[in-house]
Symmetry: C2
Subunit: 224 residues, 2 copies
C-alpha cells in the first residue's frame, strides 16, 4: 500500500470519527439532517430559498452553506428568511468535511432546531466520500445536465438516499429524458426516492415540503 493511499485512508477515518460524533449529537437532540450534493448550478440554494420561504415557519431549519469562495449562498438563505444560517468558505477545498460541520454547529443553538440541511460544495465527485454525520445525502440533478450523469458519477448516486430532479420546466429544450435519468439512477441505486421539481415554477415542491415535514417528525433510515 502506497503512502498516498495510507494517508487518504487516515484522513477519511479521522473524518468518519468526527462524523459519528456529530451524528450522535444530532440524534440525541432529535434533529434530522440532510447533506445536499450536486453539480454547480443544479439549484441547491434555490431549493433551500423556496423551502425556507414556504415552510420556514413550520419547521425550525438550521442551514450550513458551503462554497469554495464567497458567502453568497448563505446571504441568499438569510434574505429568504433563514434564521440559523452558517456559511463555510472552504478557500479552495472541493468538499465539506466533518470537522468543518462540527465547528459550524458550535455556533448554532441546537435546542432550537428540527432539521439541519447542509448545502455542500457544488461537485458531483469529491463530496460523496465525506460523511458529515448526516442522516442522508440528497443529490440534485437538473434537466439541463444530461440524463447520463448517474452512470458517469455513480458514487454520488449510490451514496444518496434521495434524488431531486430540478428544472423540469426546461424539459423538451434538450435531449434530457426524465424516464432515462430515473432508469439510470435506479440502476445505480434501486432504493433512491425521487422528486421531480421546478424551483422556477414551483411544480412538485409541495411533495418535497410534505416529505421534509414527515422527516422532521419521524425517525428516518440512516444513509450508508
Amino acid at each position: 500500500m502506497t503512502k498516498k493511499i495510507q494517508l487518504a485512508q487516515k484522513v477519511l477515518s479521522e473524518n468518519d470519527k468526527i462524523a459519528e460524533q456529530i451524528r450522535a449529537t444530532l440524534q440525541q437532540k432529535g434533529i434530522k439532517s440532510l447533506n445536499l450534493v450536486s453539480s454547480p448550478g443544479s439549484g441547491k440554494t434555490s431549493l433551500l430559498e423556496k423551502t425556507i420561504a414556504a415552510i420556514g415557519d413550520q419547521i425550525r431549519f438550521a442551514l450550513i452553506a458551503g462554497d469554495v469562495q464567497t458567502e453568497n449562498d448563505a446571504n441568499r438563505l438569510l434574505k429568504a428568511g433563514g434564521k440559523a444560517v452558517k456559511p463555510i468558505v472552504t478557500g479552495g477545498a472541493c468538499h465539506l468535511d466533518a470537522k468543518m460541520i462540527g465547528k459550524a454547529l458550535d455556533d448554532i443553538d441546537l435546542d432550537q432546531v428540527d432539521l439541519l440541511i447542509i448545502e455542500n460544495v457544488g461537485n458531483l465527485v469529491c463530496p460523496s466520500s465525506f460523511d458529515l454525520g448526516e442522516d442522508m445525502k440528497v443529490v440534485i440533478i437538473s434537466t439541463t445536465e444530461g440524463d447520463d450523469k448517474p452512470l458517469k458519477y455513480p458514487g454520488m448516486f449510490r451514496r444518496s438516499s434521495v434524488m431531486v430532479i430540478n428544472k423540469i420546466d426546461l424539459l423538451g429544450l434538450s435531449d434530457f429524458e426524465l424516464a432515462k435519468v430515473k432508469e439510470n439512477a435506479l440502476r445505480i441505486n434501486g432504493d433512491l426516492k425521487i422528486f421531480e421539481i421546478s424551483c422556477r415554477t414551483g411544480d412538485g415542491l409541495q411533495d418535497w415540503y410534505d416529505w421534509l415535514g414527515t422527516l422532521a417528525a419521524l425517525p428516518v433510515k440512516l444513509s450508508e
Copy 2:
C-alpha cells in the same frame, strides 16, 4: 508544515514534471493543445461532437475524453467522426492528471495530429490544480448554471485562458445574465477570451471553429 500538505505538494510537483515533458513533446511535434474543463453537463462533449463534425476534415484532432465512470463520451466522439479518440476512466478520481495523459498519448500517432483536445472530468474545482501539459485551459459554463459561478469557483476561471458560454439558446429561461457572467469572469481574470455559443442551435460556433483554425496554425501563449 503538516505531512498532508507536504504530500499534496509532492504529488503536484511530480505531476508538474510529467506535464512539462508532455508540453515539450507536443511543442516539438508542433501540436497545440487544450484542456476542456467545466461542471458536469455544461456541454464539453457536445461542443467536441459539433467541432469534429464541422472541421474534423480540416484539422487533425486527437481527443482524450476523461470520465469518472463509463466510456460514453469517447464513444460519442467516435460516432461523431473522431479518429484519434482515447477514453480515460478515472474509476473514482475527480480529475485527470499528467500521468494519465502521458499514457493515453503513447497510443496516439502524434505525427498525424494538429490539435489535441483533452476533455477533463466534469468538476469545477479539482481539475484546476492539475497541469496536463496543455497550452491552455478552456472553461465551459452553461447559462443554466448561474452567472455567479466565476466568483464561487475562481481558481478555474483564473487558470483558464478561454471561457465558452454554452446554451445561450436558453437565455431568458432563468435569471442568468450574460453581461453579469462576463463581468464576474473578467473580474477574476481580465485576460479571458470569451465565446458565446449554443451547441443545440449552432449559434456562435463559427467563431469557435475559426479560432481553433488560427490556433492550429499559429503559436499560442502558454497558460500559467
